[in-house]
Every structure is written in structure tokens, then in C-alpha cells.
């Protein structure tokens, strides 16, 4: 039989069921929120690392003339090389229900035995036979295809070839197709021949024997491999050595995991505030009883033990509810995020340590949150406790000042004073809501900053279409042919290629794209961060962007560097750093690059459509293709700049979007805090409400009193969130800049965002106060005056 003191604890819990349920709910919400995020985080972390590692990603990839079994055998014989295999990658165009798309087709030497960059067949047939295509899972929706459909694939000016979609496969090493706006497909060498491309393989994928090597060490191994390839008389066009074990989208995954973790902690803190408020209110109603217990011999520690024990039990009950919910939500969210990032959580479970951590936090959080109000409540002297007459505290100077404000009606004044009556409770409620609001505004600011950054990048690109040709052509031929197309305002022939930095230690950096516009160019003038843009008369000037500088820190303004282009070392001087997208890129004078690539001919052109013309960009693409075909110029691919912009935005705004979702969740937690505060306020003032009823207050007056009180807190949190959003924007902007691309930090909140936040907080307040207001309206005079 439990002792009387524990009987008291249990019966108090039962007697104040609504309050108990609120406390359990607050803890459960906090644990569910934080637990879901933690579960998602742990699952994603494990899945992305383990699945990527299990795919045996290449340590280095070489593009060369052709790769045969003899070369593979020679490379495998190198002591530092673990394995090697060959494949070919081909860029093509596909016609989908949503219009033309760029396709990247992979052809493996032995598709039934891919050992490096393992491809998982997910549905249908593997490997695809001649005339068939297996579409990569992350591209299926973008390509609008299902198994059994026919997909028209076209290489350069060869006729479109219908390929039957017979399989869906997954390659975790690829950046998701939906995000890249690319259709990835796997085809046979026979299919490649049908499409009109050489069926030989030209990529060599290598894994090092020692997987613990860092990037520099792998680069040295890659250099040995390169020498072996070159010793056979082959030319190595480029070498790509990724950071070992790091997924191509690791930055996005990391930032997602980081923000998830940070928001999990924040959600826990907010629910901690809620618990502090609720336990504080619970103790406020027990002051007299604490006094009586002390009077009959209870020591402070015994009373503290009772209430902390109660908090512990409530934490246990809340954890019993929250842990399964957090596991289910975490798994579902991890499944969703993993599928977005092209991973699969099937077969992965939440680590037991993570579950145990949630249980410990679930039990301890209410105890810690309750500790301050419990210790304060238990320190109260018997005489003070026995004198306690419940709520009756004044709103202090704030209420006094409010009382002096002119034009404030009595009922409104009452609501205003009520809001300031329990200052600590109000402060915590305000803090919770305002934090949610600050993140909300910060996410809006970040989104605006990202869009502005993308605007800045694309404002400097005065063209709409990028054309790639199968062969090189004289600039005049290309430019005059394109200018003759109705709807085209101007066109420029460009040169482009791939380059890699030749380092002093003899190794090569990763390859990056080099774009070469004519000088001066009317189509391109990128925003300069430092140094200058290319000018007419430049011969060996090189302009780089920040992501390239991040990869190769030696590329600073004023430095002379050696770039390997088309297998030849060439000297350049870095003259400036520009703002562009997240992909490492460089720009050089057109003629300089054309000379290196041979013949002063060009295989690329950009086209600007006439402003205000009736034809859409897609129509102009069709006209251009038709005109080029008429002149015998083979267009390999055509990309819309707007599409490129969407690709970049999809990459960058994903994080901002996630922040937005998290801020909404935090506002929901803040709203629950407000609802809890108002419920307690009504519970504590039941007698007062009864008195108001006795002196003539009607339903609408009681309703208005509660709702206005909630609105006062809501509007105050709205106002506090605005300055709070400034440091939040700085933190988010800087964190985003570190992981993705630097964005101009927007300090002042967007006016539209501020108004939206006001609307959100008003809705949250009205919704959060609805139940407490309804409860207050149902209070009868007799019941209220009998209430203890």
C-alpha cells in the first residue's frame, strides 16, 4: 500500500486531470519533436554513410580515349589499386510528356557485374538488353515514365530512338535526378551503337586498396594510374578524385542533418519552457498544502521528492506515448528525406542508443524543468504558505502604466493586466512563440537572400538558351546562322572545356568546367567579388568562382597557375573572383581556349531571345534546331537558362524550405505553450470569472477577455520576434554560406514576411485560446465560487 504522501501525489494528478494531461502532452510533444528529429538524424546519418560506402564508390575516375581489358588489368596490377572497371557516360536528349529533357546515359563494361559504384536493380529487368533502358529511380518522376513505357532518346543529330523502359535501378552515388533536372539511364553497348555513339568505353573507375586514404593520398595513387594510362599512348582528358567516402551531396545532407539536430534541441527547449510553466502553475495551486505538510513535519527535501517524483512519473508516461510516436514519425520522415536524396532506409533501424537517449531525456527533462519551481515552492515558509490566498498578484508597474493609458476600456484593461500577472510564465510563453517567429522570419530572410543570390548570378547572364554542337564550327557561321532565326535577338559562339589545376607536387586537382565567351561579351558579365572580369585584349587571364577557390585555395587573384586542358599544361593568371552557382567553374578569353582546343572553332553558342517577342523560348529552341539542321550543323543539346536556374534553386532552397517547415513546427509548439498558459490562467481565475459573472459579465465578455489576453501575448511575441530575427538571420545566412554558397545576409526582415508572421501568430493565438475561452464561458457562478 503506498504511503499517504504518494497517495496524495497520485490523487492530485487524478484530481487535476486537464492540467496533468497538459503537462504530459507538453513533455510528449517536446520528446516527440526532438525524438523524431533525432531518429531521422540518426537514420539518415547511418543510411547515407553506410549505403554510400556499400556502393563501393570510385576513389578516382579518369576520362580517356578508350578503356579495354588489357588496360584494366595493368591498372589493377598497381599495388595501391584495389579494383578498376570501365564504363562510358553519354549526354543525350529525351522527349518526355513534360517536354525535352537532358539525359545522362551510363554504359557499363559488364553491367551484370558492376563492382564499383554498385547499381541496385529496384524493379523490372537488369541489366537492360539492347533497345531497352533502365531509368535511375530519382529520375523516374522527372522523366514521367513507368515500366513498359517507351522513351525517345536522341544523340546529336541522329534520329530519335525509342527505348523501352524495362527497369528501374538506383545509384546512390548520383546526385538525385529530380534535383539535377536530368534523366539518368542505364543502357547496353548495343543500344549505344543504335543511338549513333561509339560503343567503346572511355571512363576508368578505380578504387584504392586502402580505403582509409585521404584525398591527397588518393590523388597520388590517381597520378600513378594516369601515368600507366598515358604510357599506353592514351590521352587522359580529366581525373576526378572526390573526397573519400563523401557523397556528392554531402554538403546538403550535412546541412540538413545539422539543422535537424539544432531544431531538435530547440524543440526540446521550448517544450522544457512549457513544462516549467505547467509545473510552476501546478505548484502555485499547492502552496497552502505544502505549508500544511511542513506544519505536520514534512521536510523540504521530502516535499521536493514528492513533486520531482511526480515529474519523473509524468516524464515516464509522456515517454511511453512519445517514443513510439517519435520512432514512427522519425522513420517516415527519414524515409521521405532519404528517398529525396536517393537513399533507402529499408533494413535500417534506429540505433538503441538513440532510443535510450530519448528515454533518459524524456524522464529527466521534466525533472530538470520542474527543479526550479519545485525548489522555490519547497523553500516557502509555513507562515507564508498558510497565508497564500492563490492568485491575486498584481500586474505591477506594467499593469499600472497600462491603466493610465487613455482610451483603454475596462474589459480590455483587465485582459492587458491579466496578461502581465504571471510574469515568468508570460516570459517563457513569449520566448517560445518569439523563437518560433524569429526562425520563421529568418527562414523567409534566408530564402530571400538565396533568391537574391541566384538573381545576381542570372542577372549577369543575358541569354536564354545554351546550345552544344557535335563538332566545332567557325564563330561567324554559328553566329550568323543563329541570328537569322526569327525571335533571336543575338547569339554568341563560345568555347568550353574541362580543366584541372596542375599542382606543384605534380598531382592534378579535380576537373572543372572552363567557359570562354568572346570579349567583350554582350551575353555574360558576372558580378565580380574581387579583382576584375575579363576584358578585350586579355590573353591568359583566368577568372574563377568561389566554389573553385574552395577546392583549390591556390587560385587567388594575381597568382599564376598551370591548368591541364585537353591534356596539355597551360599557364594562366588569375585576375578575378566572381559570383556564380555552387559548381566549381572558371572563365577565360574565347580565342585563348579555342587555340588550345584546336583550330579556332567553337562547339557552343548562347542565344538571347528578342525581348517581348511572341515566341516562347521552347519555340525558339525548335526554330533554332530546325535552322541548324537545315544548314547541316548538328545540335547535340540545348539547355534553357531558366531550367539551369531552377536546378540551382532546387539545390539551394531545399535547406531554406526545411527551415521553414521546422519554424512552423516550432510555432505549433509555441502555440501549445500559449494554449497551456491560457488554460492555466482560466483554471486559476475560475473564482474571479465567477465573480465577474455574478456582477453581470456575459458570455462574449468572458470570451473576449480570454482571447484578448492571448492576443496581447501573441502580438508581444510578434514584436519580439522581429528584432530576434536579425541575429537568427545572421546565424542562418552564415551557416548556409559555409555549407552551400555565400549569400548576402538580409538583416531587415522582409515586410511581407513580418505581416505573414503577424497573421500566423494571430491565427495561432485565436486557435490556442479557443478551448480555454470555451472553458471560461462554461464556468457557472455557483461552481466558480465553490472552486478551490
Amino acid at each position: 500500500m503506498p504511503s499517504p504522501r504518494w497517495n496524495k501525489v497520485l490523487r492530485d494528478v487524478w484530481l487535476h486531470k486537464p492540467r496533468t494531461v497538459l503537462v504530459v502532452l507538453a513533455i510528449a510533444i517536446g520528446i516527440t519533436g526532438a525524438g523524431s528529429v533525432l531518429n531521422t538524424w540518426s537514420l539518415l546519418r547511418r543510411v547515407t554513410r553506410e549505403e554510400f560506402r556499400a556502393s563501393n564508390p570510385p576513389s578516382a575516375t579518369f576520362r580517356t580515349d578508350s578503356v579495354d581489358d588489357a588496360l584494366i588489368a595493368r591498372v589493377r596490377a598497381l599495388p595501391a589499386v584495389g579494383d578498376a572497371q570501365a564504363r562510358r557516360t553519354v549526354i543525350a536528349a529525351v522527349r518526355t510528356a513534360n517536354g525535352p529533357r537532358t539525359a545522362v546515359l551510363f554504359v557499363a563494361g559488364d553491367p551484370a557485374n558492376i563492382r564499383i559504384g554498385i547499381v541496385h536493380p529496384e524493379a523490372g529487368v537488369w541489366p537492360p538488353a539492347d533497345g531497352q533502358i533502365a531509368v535511375e529511380r530519382s529520375s523516374v518522376e522527372f522523366a514521367s515514365v513507368t515500366l513498359g513505357d517507351s522513351l525517345e532518346v536522341q544523340l546529336r543529330d541522329a534520329g530519335p530512338e525509342p527505348l523501352k523502359v524495362t527497369g528501374i535501378a538506383r545509384d546512390v552515388g548520383l546526385a538525385p535526378g529530380w534535383m539535377e533536372h536530368v534523366v539518368y539511364g542505364f543502357v547496353s553497348r548495343g543500344t549505344l551503337a543504335r543511338l549513333g555513339a561509339p560503343s567503346s568505353l572511355n571512363e576508368l573507375q578505380v578504387v584504392v586498396r586502402d580505403r582509409s586514404l585521404d584525398q591527397a593520398a588518393v590523388r597520388r595513387v590517381a597520378d600513378d594510374v594516369k601515368r600507366v594510362v598515358e604510357s599506353t599512348g592514351r590521352r587522359v582528358a580529366d581525373v576526378n578524385v572526390p573526397v573519400p567516402g563523401r557523397h556528392i551531396h554531402a554538403a546538403q545532407i550535412d546541412s540538413l542533418l545539422f539543422t535537424q539536430g539544432a531544431f531538435g534541441v530547440l524543440a526540446l527547449l521550448l517544450s522544457g519552457f512549457l513544462v516549467v510553466n505547467l509545473i510552476g502553475a501546478m505548484l502555485a495551486g499547492q502552496v497552502r498544502e505544502i505549508g500544511v505538510m511542513k506544519a505536520v513535519g514534512a521536510r523540504g527535501a521530502q516535499i521536493a521528492g514528492m513533486y520531482l517524483g511526480l515529474a519523473l512519473v509524468l516524464g515516464l508516461v509522456a515517454s511511453a506515448v512519445a517514443l513510439p510516436a517519435a520512432a514512427a514519425i522519425g522513420l517516415a520522415y527519414a524515409q521521405f528525406t532519404a528517398s529525396v536524396l536517393n537513399f533507402d532506409v529499408t533494413g535500417f533501424t534506429i540505433p538503441p542508443g538513440i532510443i535510450a537517449l530519448q528515454l533518459v531525456v524524456g524522464i529527466l527533462m521534466p525533472v530538470v524543468a520542474a527543479a526550479v519551481p519545485v525548489l522555490r515552492g519547497c523553500r516557502i515558509s509555513v507562515s507564508e504558505a498558510l497565508r497564500d490566498s492563490g492568485i491575486g498578484r498584481s500586474s505591477g508597474s506594467t499593469g499600472f502604466l497600462l491603466g493610465r493609458a487613455s482610451g483603454v476600456t475596462r474589459p480590455l484593461l483587465l485582459s492587458l493586466r491579466n496578461a502581465f500577472r504571471r510574469r515568468q510564465r508570460m516570459a517563457l510563453t513569449l520566448l517560445a512563440l518569439a523563437t518560433g517567429g524569429a526562425v520563421y522570419l529568418g527562414a523567409i530572410n534566408l530564402r530571400a537572400s538565396v533568391v537574391r543570390s541566384v538573381d545576381l548570378i542570372f542577372d549577369s547572364q543575358h541569354y536564354d538558351i545554351v546550345l552544344r554542337f557535335g563538332r566545332s564550327w567557325p564563330a561567324d557561321s554559328l553566329e550568323s546562322a543563329l541570328a537569322s532565326v526569327p525571335g533571336v535577338a543575338r547569339a554568341e559562339a563560345w568555347s568550353a572545356g574541362r580543366a584541372a589545376v596542375s599542382r606543384p607536387d605534380g598531382t592534378m586537382g579535380n576537373t572543372f568546367s572552363v567557359v570562354a565567351p568572346p570579349l567583350p561579351s554582350r551575353a555574360l558579365a558576372l558580378a565580380v567579388e574581387s579583382g576584375r572580369w575579363l576584358t578585350a585584349g586579355d590573353t591568359n587571364a583566368l577568372v574563377v568562382n568561389r566554389p573553385l577557390m574552395k577546392d583549390d585555395p591556390d587560385l587567388k587573384t594575381g597568382r599564376d597557375v598551370t591548368l591541364i586542358i585537353a591534356g596539355r599544361p597551360t599557364r594562366w593568371t588569375v585576375v578575378g573572383v566572381v559570383q556564380s552557382g555552387p559548381t566549381p567553374s572558371a572563365w577565360v578569353p574565347r580565342e585563348a581556349l579555342a587555340r588550345i582546343l584546336g583550330g579556332g572553332r567553337f562547339d557552343r553558342a548562347v542565344v538571347a531571345r528578342a525581348p517581348g517577342g511572341p515566341a516562347s523560348t521552347l519555340e525558339i529552341v525548335q526554330r533554332v534546331r530546325a535552322e541548324m539542321a537545315r544548314r547541316g550543323i548538328d545540335v547535340e543539346s540545348s539547355d534553357l537558362l531558366s531550367e539551369n536556374r531552377r536546378v540551382i534553386e532546387d539545390h539551394l532552397l531545399m535547406v531554406a524550405g526545411f527551415l521553414g517547415v521546422m519554424s512552423q513546427l516550432m510555432i505549433v509548439v509555441g502555440g501549445l505553450g500559449l494554449a497551456a498558459t491560457m488554460s492555466l490562467s482560466v483554471l486559476e481565475r475560475t473564482r474571479e470569472i465567477g465573480v465577474m459573472r455574478a456582477i453581470g459579465a456575459q458570455h462574449h465578455a468572458i470570451l473576449a477577455m480570454v482571447q484578448v489576453e492571448g492576443l496581447v501575448i501573441a502580438v508581444a511575441s510578434w514584436a519580439i520576434a522581429i528584432p530576434l530575427s536579425v541575429p537568427m538571420s545572421v546565424v542562418l545566412g552564415r551557416a548556409f554560406g559555409r555549407v552551400m554558397i555565400p549569400v548576402p545576409v538580409t538583416l531587415l526582415p522582409e515586410p511581407g514576411g513580418v505581416l505573414r508572421w503577424l497573421a500566423v501568430v494571430v491565427v495561432v493565438s485565436v486557435a490556442g485560446c479557443a478551448w480555454p475561452a470555451f472553458r471560461a464561458m462554461r464556468v457557472t457562478t455557483s461552481a466558480a465560487l465553490a472552486y478551490e
Partner: protein
Amino acid sequence: MNLNTEMRPVISMRGVTKTYRGAVEPFTALADVSLTITRGEFVVVVGQSGSGKSTLLGLLSGIDRPTRGEVIVDGTAVHALPERAISAWRGRAVGIVFQFFQLLPTLTAAENVMLPMDFCGMWPPRERRERAVTLLERLGVADQVDKLPASLSGGQQQRVAVARALANSPALLLADEPTGNLDSRTSAAMLELLAGLVQDGSLQTLVMVTHERGAQRFASRTVTLEDGRIVPAAAAGNA
């Protein structure tokens, strides 16, 4: 009967002054009060509102601390007890009966009586309920043992409160207006009950603050307070 024990002072107050810090100026509730009460006495403390009666009880129970002077109860210097020790001492040495009963609403009558035993670790846990029931029987509320306070009458609640005050067999029972919230018939019964407890030895010493006119006839001594000072017996009799 051991005369030495009987005559030993249970309460010894010497030069006790209690001053409260008021909002405007300090207020002296008790001024230089000295009082000795021996075992077996039933002392009634009377006086006007604000004369210092409740302050006196507060100081005797350790609920309040004197500004100056000594309060010794059953050999313990209450004024010098550290805060952390005072609750445990009070639970064992003093029983308190309040005007508004102050029973815990979620505990039954028996559980309310068992609570001081629980907090002070008095009596083996298995025997506590039996003792509580015995006390409630002696106080005439045996049939209310498992009822919650809300279902008891005022008189019954006060009897349960007395039983709770006696739970740990304290040397001293302090009662603050125990009849203040009862009707006249119930009040008289309560006074008779308390006097009977002193007489039959269930209660060693009783100090009761009251406004009840008839209370003095049950008491062995009356102490009159006026403006924080004890009025000499002769003067009180004249008043």
C-alpha cells in the same frame, strides 16, 4: 505520578519580541513576552484581534522566528534550530490544529492522520493505519475513516485534524481558533473533547488561542494578550 516530570516546563519563553517589517513601518506583534507552561496544563490564550495570539503560537511551533528572546519547547531551543531541522522537530514534538482544519483534500481521514507519521518516520509503516484508526475512534469519527474531507462536516473535519495533531504523540498541542469555524454546539463539543484529552493524559500540554467565551472554564490557565504584551492575571480579571 512523577512530580518532577509533571512540573518540568514544556514551554519557556524569555524576553521574546517579534517585529514584522511592515510596508510603511515595522510592526511589533509581541513585545518582551516571557511565559512558562508546565506539562499537563491546558492554557487558553485570549485577546483582541491583532493582540499577538497567533504570533505566539507561530513562535511556539517554530513556524515563525522571534526577533529577540528565547523559545524553548520540551527542552529544544526552537529559536536556534536551523531551518532544515525545524520541520522534523515540529512533526515529532508539536501537534497543530488550525481554524480552517487544513486537511489535505485528496487524502482520506485516516491518511491525513497517517501523514505526520509518514513524514517523521514514526511508528512502523504497518502499524500507522491501525494507530490512525485508533485515534479517530477515540475522537469519535471512527465511521469516517476512509472518507475524504469534503464529505465530512466541519466538526468531523476538526476532529480528524485533532487526531492528525496527536498522531506522533507530541509533547505539545497548539490549537489556533479550533472552534472558530464551527457552530456553537459543535464548538462546545470540541472544547470538551480537547479538555478530556488533557485530563485523560492523551494530550500532555495544550495551548489554545480562542475567541470562544466559554473556553476558559475548560482551561487550567488563561493568558491574556494585549498589544503584544501579557496582561497580568489580576489586571486581566479586572478587565
